[in-house]
Every structure is written in C-alpha cells, then in structure tokens.
Symmetry: C2
Subunit: 417 residues, 2 copies
C-alpha cells in the first residue's frame, strides 16, 4: 500500500518553521510497512492545494494531510478534500460538543463565531477527537482511496496519530505490525550494521532498520503477523540475538527511554548520587540530567570549571597537574572526577575536559581530543576520545559519551561487588 | 519569479532524517523576493524523479534540487535533469582537477573509479565549486527556465548557496536585494508586530518580516534597489525607526551574532567576568555561554545547584531563606546570585531558580514560575517570570531570559557609572 504526505501551510513555504511533522509521519509509515514515494508541501491556496490533492489521490492509496484545519479563512484542507472527493460538509454534533467543552475548560470566554467551522465535517467522515486542541482529525474514504486529515501542531498531531491513526492504518493491512526498539551506545552506525548484516540480509519478517543519532544508534525490529502474539513470537529470537551481540552496549529496549533517563534510573536503582565536573561541555551533561523530571533524588550538584582557577578552586585539581600535563589530559580528568565527588559528597562524579575548537589545537593535542573520567566510590575510570566535527558536534558527542561512561561504570561497579 | 524546491533522497521518505535544508532554502528564497508555491520530496528513483522534475519545470521558473549528486548508482539527480532538459553529460576538466585535489588533501588513497562520475556535467552547465566536499553544484538553463542542483549535506549546501547561488539568483532579478537583521529580546512576536504595524503596512520597499524564535523575535528589513547603495539608502531610515522603537531590547543588528555571543562581547568590552548559578536550567546557561569560542576570557565557573544542599554549600544560600521563602523565591534567587559572585570571585553572576515541572507545582507557586537574579559588582536585580509550555520549553525560555537579564544589567550598570 502506498502513502503520500501533504503538508499544508504558507509558513513552511516561507521557511518560518522546520517541517518536523514530516519526519515523524514518514518514520511511522515506514514502521507500518507502507511505501512512501512522495512528500509535498503546498500553501494555503485553494487552487494549488486542490491540484496537489488530486494528483496525490491519483498516484497513492492513502494521503495524509497536516495543517489547515483551524478556524480561519486560510484553513482550507477540509474544504479542498471534500471538493476533490465529492463530499458535502455537514455539521457534526459530537465535534460541536467537544468544542464547547474545550472552550469551557481552556479559554473562559465566548466561542467566536468562526470557530464553529471546525465542527463541520465531510459527510461520512470518520472523526478523530483531538485530545489536545480544538480541530478534530478526519478520515475520508472513497473508491478504495483514503485521505487522513490531521492538525498541524505537533502537540495535537503526534498523540492523535499514535492513538488513533496508527491502529487504523495497521488494521487496514489485515495483519498486525509489532516493533521493538533497541538503543545502542558506543558503536557507529556502520559498525552496528556490519555486526548484524547477516540478520538484516537473511530475513524479511522481522525487518531490522538502523537509525544513526548523535553518539548512538537506534535499531528497530519490526514483525508482521496475523495477531500481536504471532508478531511478538517472530521478534523474540531476533531481539535475543541482537541483545547477545551488543550486550551492555544496549542501554534500553524501551522506545520512550533516552540515555539520560536510563542513567538516572540506574542511579536510582543502585541508590547512588551523582555530581558533574565539566570543562568543554560547559554544563551540558548537568543540563541533560536535569531534563529528567525527578532527578533531584540522585543529582546533587554540577560544577562548570572552564578556567584553570575553577578547576583548582571548585574541584581541587593540583596546580602541578595542570602545569605538567595540561588542562586537557588524562591526569586532569581523573583529578576533576575524584575532586568533584569529594567536593559534592556524591557516590559518582563524571568529569569532561577537552578541546572543542575551533582554536586551541596543537599537533600533540588536536581539536576534538577529549578526556573523560568517572569516579565511583573512589574508583576512577578514564577514557580518551578523538571526536570529529565543529565545536557543537564535539561538545554534543562528549556529552553523550560522558553519560554512557557513567552507565558503563555503574554496571561494572555493581558487577564487581 | 517563482521557485520550487525538490529534495531528493529515500532517507527523507523513510523518516531517517529531518529535512532542514528545505527551511534554509525557503527562508533564503523569501529574502530574495522569490515566490514559492511547492516543495516536493522524492526518492532515488529515476522514473518518479523525472516526473517530479518535469512537473516542476512546467509550473515554476526556477527549480532547486538538493541531494543525489554523489558517486553511487543511486545518485541520479544530474542524470534526470539532463534527460528532462535535453542535455548531454560531458566530462568537466575543471571539476576533475578539483576532485583530484580534494582526494589528495582529504582522503589519502586512490580515487575509486565511480567517483569520476562526479566530474561529468550536463553540457553548458554552470559549475559551482564545492569548497567543502566533492560533488560540485550545477546550474542548468533552458527556455527561460533554470534548474539549480546542490549537494545534500548542509555543510556543503549552505556555503555553496550563500556564496554562489544567492548572488546568481539576486543577479537575475535585475535589481539588488539588501537586507538587515534586527534581533529583539524581551517582546513577543505579536507585541513586536503591533509596535511596527504602521511600518509593515505602509510600505512595500523595504519590506519587514518577523520570525519568532525562543524568547526572541528576529526582524528582517529587506529593500530592493538598482544598486547596493540605493537599497541601503532605502533601509536606513526604517532601520533607524525600528531601533528607536525597540531601543535596548535590540541586542544586535548583525545577522551572525546570537544572544550568547552578544553577552560575551559585552562582558569583554567592559572587562567583566561572569559566573552562573543555576537550579532549574541545570547548566544550560553555562553551556550556552561556552558555545562561544574564546569565552574563557570572561567566563570563570558555573555552579549547578539543583539540591538545597548545593545551594547552601556552593553558593552560601542561608538555610533560613530556603525554609522561610522556599527554593523558588525572589530571596533565594538573590542570594544565589550574590553568593555565586562571591564564591567565584567574578564581577557578574546570574542565578536561576524555578519550577520546570511537570510535577511540583502548587496554586501559589505554579509550574512555569521562575525567578532569576543578576548580581553585578554588588548590585542585585531580580525578575519573576511565568513561562508556559512543557519542561523543555520552560527551561529554554528561562535560559534565554537569563542571558538577556545579564545583558540589560550590564547596560544599566555602565549607563549609571
């Protein structure tokens, strides 16, 4: 089955915003095993939108439109689709009630007249309630083709797609699709692919897809079966094989867990507190940990010691160490980590010092050289990295690797107890 | 003149990456005064790409294609465009030499045979040298239409567009386009628009466009003239008027300066050192400052004091203050700032404490309540904010407002000396 995406909105054509909805929908459609050949963006113009919708319905089985469902005169998606598919617009009482309730709870004033436009739907449409906004989503079907109309704001689109559209699309395929996510840190994408090439090549159900992220690789195993159980049974041995090949490099098999959450969960599980001592990352590791709601149970304090004075003053790094080995050295990283743990009174402290560039590199210590150390109850592990890319890229990779170092050190520490 | 964007790449259709090139190109085309009605994404498939290119050349004056210029068999953009426009592919000696030089400097091994594919160009094409990669860009012209073919990687595309394509497009319009950027902090987009509505409405040359960013608004004034001087003369009075209306809320009129750079420049100019004391932002303000290369001249240290113990231990906040007013209070913010400056021995210290949620809010202190204070040579200014949005949004707004508070405090401090 083929699917085509149509993004509606003049703000996209003007470059005012990045079209992130398209990536979200494309990834979900790929997971569903739908074939996508085209993505089109068109402005809030009746004639041009009509032409685009007509062309898309001519060449694709399903079209998904985002945006243009709001209350203003510029919002034309519903009108154009009804026109192309030969449907009449009628008032939907259920949606009218939903709008009334939404206004009562969220806006505390009378409903402007033009808002009732959102309660009209093409006759025969399947209405998708909007749990996070006003305009409902719609699914229109005719002559074996379907048009799925969704609101543009990601906060409304994402949950509506996940909860209502994904199951609907999945159901049309007369089989169930189940997928499991494996998140790997410490291997590049090509390394990951090489290690599982035989698995990728040898089978079509389940399939394995890899996605490269900063300093991590996500691997999605997807199986199709008559029932959820059957698909699950197909996934299980492949998942086990993948786990066996990557072992502790896998930090989660939960779609919704990211690296910082995995680290915080591990700290909580082993009742360990943490502090951070950062030079080139300048607070990024601390900020990432503080992304996790409830981190206050384990994260005590962070120290950004960009200057040598701060490294000595806050972390107790010895002047002699800085003079002999330099601020970017294994020795300084170690002293930052153990000094940081002592200054903070935490079980764990992770330290990062490196050259993010663009200036400051030498032949012996080039830009991209980063040392990181993790002190855990007195034991210090240290790592040397050579990152490529600009200042931002080097700092971002350092941050991710530092979080992963904490994770691996805790696993090690707990295994050796 | 109309322009259409075509993004080529199956990875976009699979949702593996976000299409950020499109926003970049759309914003630049809008600056150039070109009308864009369509953006299309198509995979690495000869037949479908040909259909898309044909349609686009039929309805738009200029088409800009990105991606599919590399050395592999999947890279078909050049071949398809030459086919549609009836051009033959011939070897380009200049490009061949460029490739040889590139390999010599960057890859240190023999050039794989398939790489010579990148040295063939449609006959009559204008070749755009790639300063940051291998595949050159190309401009093909026929029957009053033009196809501009650009490499997909942003690191190659952006400079090639800015340095070679922008001037070429500008030159075709038989007039010169000049624009000036005004970056404003401390006003929402609708507030900014309201204050300059008369300017926006009353004129078409120059035009004024607003772009909402996190906690700032960018305002682009663009004029068209026969010469650069003429366009500049048209911009000048409008720029002066805008400066007069927003005064110190404008942090720069330089396109390439961001808020953290403006703050660091201001610190350097007045020879002031800075430290940070962060709670809910968890190191984001420090990390943002460390984005600026050469920040070590002014930024001494950052303290992430997420726990009450850290606020007392690192910053000397009084236990009594925390007990009486709470960690999220004007009083705590003030003590964090003055204590942070004292602990770090810096001229300036900015402190942030707030409730980023999702948990922890109360009726009196709801999620989104953030206090920030800036201590500058003993004088402390404090601000209360109520931010909307999720945890990420609240933290990001807090970070930007904190940087702006530093900027405004320095301006105040210098004015009163």
């Amino acid at each position: 089955m083929t699917v085509e995406l149509i993004s509606v909105g003049t703000e996209l054509l003007m470059g005012n915003i990045v079209n992130s909805n398209t990536q979200f929908l494309a990834e979900k459609c790929a997971m569903l095993g739908l074939d996508m050949y085209y993505q089109v963006t068109v402005g809030d113009n009746y004639g041009r939108m009509k032409e685009v919708v007509k062309t898309a319905l001519g060449r694709s089985d399903i079209i998904i439109l985002t945006g243009g469902l709001g209350p203003t005169e510029d919002d034309l998606t519903k009108e154009v689709c009804a026109d192309v598919m030969g449907m009449e617009l009628v008032e939907d009482l259920h949606t009218r009630k939903h709008l009334e309730a939404f206004f009562e709870h969220n806006i505390y004033r009378e409903i402007p007249d033009n808002n009732w436009k959102m309660a009209t739907v093409p006759s025969g449409a399947l209405v998708l309630d909007n749990g996070n906004g006003m305009a409902p989503g719609l699914i229109l079907e005719k002559d074996g083709k379907a048009a799925i109309l969704l609101p543009g704001p990601p906060g409304e689109l994402y949950p509506m797609f996940e909860q209502q559209v994904f199951p609907w699309l999945s159901g049309r395929q007369q089989s169930v699709l189940v997928s499991r996510m494996v998140k790997i840190c410490g291997c590049g994408e090509s390394q990951v692919e090489e290690r599982i090439l035989d698995l990728i090549d040898s089978q079509t159900n389940p399939t394995i897809a890899t996605y490269a992220k900063t300093a991590e690789v996500h691997l999605r195993i997807t199986a199709r079966g008559a029932t959820e159980e059957e698909a699950g049974r197909l996934i299980e041995p492949v998942l086990e094989e993948v786990k066996d090949r990557f072992k502790e490099k896998i930090y989660t098999t939960d779609e919704h867990v990211n690296l910082e959450t995995a680290v915080v969960e591990l700290l909580k599980k082993h009742r360990l507190t943490i502090s951070t001592a950062e030079s080139c990352t300048g607070g990024m590791v601390a900020a990432k940990l503080v992304n996790v709601s409830g981190v206050s149970q384990v994260f005590m304090q962070g120290m950004v010691t960009y200057s040598n004075e701060a490294k000595m003053g806050l972390l107790g790094v010895k002047e002699d160490t800085l003079r002999t080995y330099g601020a970017v050295s294994e020795e300084t990283a170690k002293e930052m980590a153990s000094g940081g743990a002592a200054a903070s009174g935490t079980d764990v402290c992770v330290a990062i010092t490196g050259l993010a560039g663009p200036e400051g590199g030498t032949d012996r210590k080039p830009v991209g050289l980063v040392y990181m150390a993790c002190c855990i109850q007195g034991n210090v592990a240290v790592r040397e990295y050579h990152f490529k890319g600009n200042r931002d890229k080097i700092r971002e990779q350092s941050m991710m690797k530092a979080l992963d170092l904490v994770r691996l050190c805790i696993l090690d520490h707990e295994a050796s107890r």
